[in-house]
């Protein structure tokens, strides 16, 4: 099988779309109410060292994805168990995104369509794309990225005309605690979810810089989140904002340019579909890839379809209702700690130690 490559730019585009993916419609947590935008900034700063750590893991073993790294560092048996953890996380994340996707669509327009159909369409597309290779995904993402960027910038500029600046006052009314609380939520969803990229960025072209991808991806993705959050608060304001599941959708539905240009909210749905597809595809890829490594199969492609179908079946009954889906967000922040913080830390420390101890310098050897 020929080696697949993605360019630095494609990696960056993927990461940005991955970050804004489901957060665009669900919106960032509103723990800090009108200070949520401060939470976003804080979350970006909090995520920076963590993401640099992920980049370091990718950088230490160029051309080897996280599963290979785990195998090399921890040996076969322990490596397989740890890999399984990661596979579960990627799989579960994919499930959550798929469910988000279908809930949103069935709420806004396809009210009578059964959700499994929406989910099936999404994963079939995802499987098709990833089956083409990660390169296809990279190229498609680069193409879509421009469209998404234009739409989002347009939306933010238009939202600016409807902004009521009084909505941002008073600053820090509830003190600093909710801001930090919210920042951590945003850190775990979606910023630190980029741990998945440790399995993707190994496909970067030789010589490409994984730090750059993570760094820029974080700032651009986080910047877009910030802009969206500012727009939502400015246009809708509290307490209305906390009553809405899909705030961005409502915000954009309020934009009127003259009497003719209105009803832009479908653009939000379009952007979400595109970003959601990227996120689902990357999760699929990561799951299938990890499973292939665990079972010593060389081609992850054969595993894509079964994984995707499992994704859909789990997505169908993972939440009993939409309320449960949004409640899960509060649990997720703790649930994600091992996958986003503990495991990467462990891997990083052991990898560094292993490299130092072996003295031969694995970097040069590879």
């Amino acid at each position: 099988m020929p080696k697949e490559f993605i360019t630095e730019r494609q990696g960056l585009n993927m990461m940005v779309l991955f970050i804004i993916g489901s957060t665009l419609v669900v919106g960032v947590t509103d723990a800090a109410k009108q200070d949520s935008w401060l939470s976003v900034i804080l979350a970006i700063i909090m995520a920076l060292p963590m993401l640099m750590l992920y980049a370091r893991i990718v950088h230490l073993f160029p051309g080897q994805d996280i599963f290979m790294v785990i195998h090399r560092v921890f040996g076969r048996i322990v490596g397989k168990v740890l890999s399984l953890f990661f596979v579960w996380y990627a799989f579960h994340l994919g499930v959550l995104v798929i469910r988000n996707f279908s809930e949103f669509l069935s709420e806004i327009s396809l009210t009578e369509t059964p959700q499994y159909l929406i989910q099936l369409v999404v994963v079939i597309l995802g499987v098709w794309m990833v089956k083409g290779s990660i390169e296809v995904l990279g190229r498609w993402t680069s193409f879509v990225f421009n469209i998404v960027l234009v739409i989002i910038i347009g939306i933010c500029l238009m939202a600016f005309t409807e902004t009521n600046f009084a909505n941002f006052t008073p600053m820090l009314y509830g003190g600093f605690r909710p801001v930090i609380d919210g920042a951590y939520s945003i850190f775990s969803f979606p910023l630190a979810e980029t741990i998945i990229f440790t399995a993707v960025l190994s496909f970067l072209k030789p010589g490409a810089n994984s730090y750059k991808v993570y760094n820029r991806g974080l700032w651009i993705g986080g910047g877009i989140l910030l802009a969206i959050t500012l727009g939502n608060i400015g246009v809708l304001g509290y307490p209305f904002l906390s009553t809405q599941y899909y705030p961005s959708y409502i915000t954009v539905s309020l934009i009127d340019l003259g009497t003719f240009f209105r009803r832009f909210e479908i653009l939000v749905a379009v952007v979400f579909l595109l970003c959601g597809l990227v996120k689902v595809s990357i999760c699929l890829f990561c799951t299938a890839n990890g499973l292939a490594k665990i079972f010593n199969t060389h081609d992850y492609r054969v595993l894509l379809a079964p994984v995707a179908l499992l994704n859909v079946s789990l997505a169908l009954f993972i939440y009993p209702s939409m309320q449960a889906m949004f409640e899960w967000v509060n649990v997720y922040r703790y649930y994600a700690i091992p996958f986003q913080i503990l495991l990467p830390l462990l891997i990083w420390i052991c990898a560094e130690a292993k490299l130092r101890l072996s003295k031969t310098g694995a970097i040069e050897k590879d």
Partner: protein, 384 residues
């Protein structure tokens, strides 16, 4: 070859889903596009919902007409659904622009209605909520509209005119209403709509506002009073300011056209008691003078200016007093100003804000800048 067979077998599977039909199939003939809803007290049930439906007159040039259909129910949704029995069409609410609530219903509380509005994915939160000045809300939808065949759309056009020319009421959208009801330190006011006689025919007319305590209607303000509420809320864009000039016992009425207005509200703490300072800066033109007096000397202009300021201050104060004494609800959003500008103090006074509000010392300082007097150098004079 075997692979190809598999693909061929897969195709019909996909077709089952994609070609056999649609789950969300909607024909435009089967939809009743609802332009506006009026909610009244029902006779047999709690609510009576009257919906204005956009109908299409068949013919060579298809014309739009407004049709009314109503149903009763114990909840608003039930009332709406019961009306489908009559029309035989499902309502489609994506284009609904106005919701008119009768005073009886508003006195019971508008929370159930607002809840339905912001919960539904189809109804847009930019929908305008109004209170009917008439006995029922359905009356308003039954009245004639002048320019638009669809009355609810006419209401929205009237809002645009209000903003440009009158400022006697302002549009409140669903999300703004939710923010005013649920926000700290603000109470809700909604625009009112009534029916007046125009050329002998009942026609809808927009002016004035309804004052709420929490979600219950407590009183109505007329258009003139509403204007000064809007002054305080910094929502006056353009409008008319009438000033009675008692100049040497020669009563004169001057109409100023408001060009722009800016209001600042500053909460203060005077002798341990919270108070509010309102500063109004208005730029006006003289547009109508009903006496031969001229305001061309500098002294005269100064006097005119100070008179206008005094009158504006008095009017604003009057409405503040009235709301404080009669209704005791903070439709001016003074509390929210405390909250954003003096958050520490607000945390203390928040539980008893309603009491504080009725006792609140309010000082108004108005500055009126008279810019132009139109094309006229002098007022008209009548000579023998």
């Amino acid at each position: 070859m075997r692979k190809n067979y598999a693909k061929f077998l897969f195709l019909p599977l996909i077709m089952i889903f994609l070609i056999s039909g649609c789950w969300n199939y909607r024909e435009i003939e089967g939809l009743a596009i609802v332009a506006g809803i009026a909610v009244d007290r029902g006779i047999h049930h709690k609510y009576l919902a009257t919906m204005e439906i956009i109908g299409f007159k068949p013919g060579q040039e298809s014309e739009i007409e407004s049709k009314l259909v109503s149903g009763e129910g114990d909840s608003i949704l039930e009332a709406i659904r019961n009306s489908y029995n009559i029309s035989g069409q499902m309502g489609y609410f994506n284009h609904t622009r106005a919701l008119i609530i009768s005073q009886d219903v508003a006195k019971m509380g508008i929370l159930p209605i607002t809840d339905l509005l912001f919960r539904s994915p189809l109804i847009r939160v930019s929908l305008a909520i109004l209170i009917s000045k008439e006995k029922t809300a359905g009356e308003v939808l039954a009245a004639r509209s002048l320019n638009q065949p669809i009355k609810s759309f006419q209401i929205c056009e009237a809002f645009a005119v209000q903003q440009k020319a009158l400022s006697k009421t302002a549009e409140i959208k669903v999300f703004e209403a939710v923010n005013a009801m649920g926000g700290e330190g603000t109470d809700l006011f909604l625009p009112t709509v009534g029916v007046i006689s125009n050329q002998g025919q009942p026609t809808m007319e927009l002016s004035g506002m309804a004052v709420f305590q929490q979600d219950k209607l407590v009183g109505l303000l007329d258009g003139e009073e509403s204007k000064y509420v809007l002054f305080i809320r910094n929502k006056v864009q353009e409008g008319i300011l009438l000033e009675n000039m008692d100049r040497e016992a020669n009563a004169t009425l001057i109409s100023f056209k408001i060009l722009k207005n800016q209001t600042w509200i500053k909460p203060v703490l005077a002798k341990g008691k919270p108070g509010v300072k309102i500063a109004v800066k208005t730029t006006v033109d003289i547009w109508e003078l009903d006496s031969p007096l001229n305001y061309d000397s500098e002294q005269d202009r100064k006097m005119l200016k100070s008179q206008a300021e005094k009158e504006l201050q008095a009017n604003i104060l009057r409405i503040v007093r009235k709301v404080q004494q009669n209704y005791g609800t903070d439709i001016f959003g003074f509390g929210s100003q405390f909250r954003s500008q003096m958050p520490e103090l607000w945390k203390e006074i928040k539980p008893e804000w309603r009491d504080y509000f009725t006792q609140l010392k309010v000082a108004v300082k108005a500055e009126v800048e008279i810019q132009k007097s139109g094309m006229a150098i002098k007022s008209l004079k009548v000579e023998d």
